[in-house]
């Protein structure tokens, strides 16, 4: 016969508390993403711009 393990109430309390903290953080992330979404401008130009190093334009130098 296998012995069925009983759920301990304090296990549930600790797990529940940790889960609630995680939920708050995840919803915080969603809020942060939502703010990012609002920030996205219709024209987002040159997220990264790479210019070639300046070449020496003066042939004498």
């Amino acid at each position: 016969m296998t012995k069925k393990r009983k759920d301990k109430p304090w296990h549930l309390k600790v797990t529940g508390t940790l889960s609630i903290v995680m939920l708050f953080l995840i919803f915080g992330f969603f809020y942060q993403s939502f703010e990012e979404m609002l920030k996205i401008a219709p024209l987002q130009v040159a997220i990264e711009r790479i210019n070639a190093p300046e070449v020496n334009k003066d042939p004498d130098n």
Binding site: L12, G16, F29, Q32, M37, V45, I47, I50, P53
Partner: protein, 410 residues
């Protein structure tokens, strides 16, 4: 030997379907699907940028004359009053499509890359930061247009952002070489990129083969194989390649962001390995062995030695909760058409140590949970695990249906 915790309940003990006595369940589910579809359509229409305007805004001093009347990228522009050409092209990054504009300038040697503009991308901020810190973009400035532009040949990839590095490089290469041949009159004597199947891809294939062997067999060899796979997953899939599956990966597929196999074979190996294990073995090998964050959680749990049991009712509620969280995340992703914006998992941050704002708190909180509850994240919050387990469930149903039909037929 490592203590393996199967997050997939054994066959026949999959979580029960929620009770049917809740009358609004169908309505709520239907509403959720309609909302997702609406978000997808709105996102596709509203987030379609006008790249030409973006390019013109980025180059305010130049008058750009479109060379061809193309409706799709790449598009070439002549710069009025100069011999410069600007080419706009689209490629595939890790998170989705990316669009670049490159300016090629005629020189005595042929041509030079004068300017590169990244106009749009779907990479996560962490990956972009990694590329910037790795001075990846600086490698392009001033390069000759007839250079090869091949990663690990004349361009160095940034480790942990290899796919992004390859995606950006190949997009720039396509644009530059198009300009070089058609508008600067150069002969294409550069090297063509081949399949990028190297050591990294071979390691990933080996990990999956070992995981398959471990999934089919029992005994000492299988245990050793599992251990090798777990170490490999942590070191290679996690810290080296930072290639964990996330909600962003799933959403990317739904939005059609599927990279070319020649360019991103690792993505394909991962997908074939993960789905193949479900179809062939009927097991979710990714969550059981390949996921590096699972290994991290097991290590945290080993260190603490505490194993708090999750109440069975609590575990059932968690399933609904993950569906809800992933629904919110998918809404955000579809509305923005940006997979990284809704991906709330701590994986990328764990293995790159790059994150933004509240992500810095999600990672330690999930690790703290793992100190007390075995595989805390996997069991209570992970959408990837939930969806892969749903596929396992679907496979069992289909198999059961086939078996039943065959029995009835004979």
């Amino acid at each position: 030997m490592t203590d393996f915790i199967n997050i997939n309940p054994p066959s026949g003990e999959l979580p029960e379907e929620p009770s049917k006595d809740f009358p609004w369940r169908g309505i709520v589910e239907g509403f959720a699907w309609v909302m997702l579809l609406a978000a997808f359509i709105i996102g596709q229409i509203a987030t379609r940028p006008d790249y030409e305007s973006m390019l013109k805004e980025a180059l305010p001093g130049d008058v750009l004359i479109r060379s061809e009347v193309n409706t799709t990228l790449p598009v070439v522009y002549q710069v009025e009053g100069s011999e410069d050409v600007v080419i706009m092209a689209e490629g595939e990054g890790y998170g989705g499509p990316l669009v670049v504009g490159v300016r090629a300038r005629k020189s005595d040697e042929g041509g030079r890359l004068a300017e590169v503009l990244m106009l749009s991308h779907k990479e996560s901020p962490a990956f972009m930061e990694r590329l910037r810190r790795g001075h990846f973009f600086k490698q392009f400035g001033g390069k000759d247009v007839s250079d090869d532009f091949i990663v690990n040949h004349d361009i160095d990839a940034v480790s942990g952002a290899t796919i992004s590095s390859r995606g950006f490089t190949s997009t720039v290469r396509e644009a530059v070489h198009l300009g070089a041949v058609n508008h600067l009159g150069l002969k294409p004597d550069w090297k063509q990129p081949g399949w990028v199947f190297g050591v990294e891809e071979a390691v990933l294939v080996m990990l999956f083969i070992l995981a398959f062997i471990a999934g089919y067999h029992n005994g000492k060899f299988a245990k050793t194989a599992k251990l090798i796979v777990m170490v490999g997953a942590l070191v290679f899939v996690g810290f080296y390649a930072n290639a964990s599956l996330s909600l962003a990966s799933i959403a990317g597929i739904l939005m059609g962001y599927i990279p070319a196999p020649q360019q991103h074979p690792m993505w394909w190996i991962m997908m074939i390995g993960v789905l193949g294990s479900i179809v062939i073995l009927g097991r979710n090998i990714y969550c059981q062995q390949i996921c590096p964050f699972m290994v991290v959680q097991d290590l945290a749990q080993k260190i603490s030695g505490v194993k708090l049991k999750i109440d069975s009712r609590f575990q059932k509620r968690a399933r609904t909760l993950i569906f809800f969280l992933s629904w919110v995340a998918l809404m955000l992703i579809f509305l923005t058409a940006h997979p990284a914006l809704g991906s709330y998992e701590p994986f990328a941050m764990m293995f790159s140590l790059e994150g933004l704002g509240i992500q810095w708190y999600i990672l330690p909180a999930s690790l703290l949970g793992s100190f007390f509850v075995p595989r805390f994240w996997c069991r209570l919050f992970c959408p990837v695990g939930l969806y892969l387990n749903e596929l396992v469930r679907l496979r069992r149903r289909v198999k059961g249906w086939f078996t039943k039909t065959r029995k009835q037929g004979s």
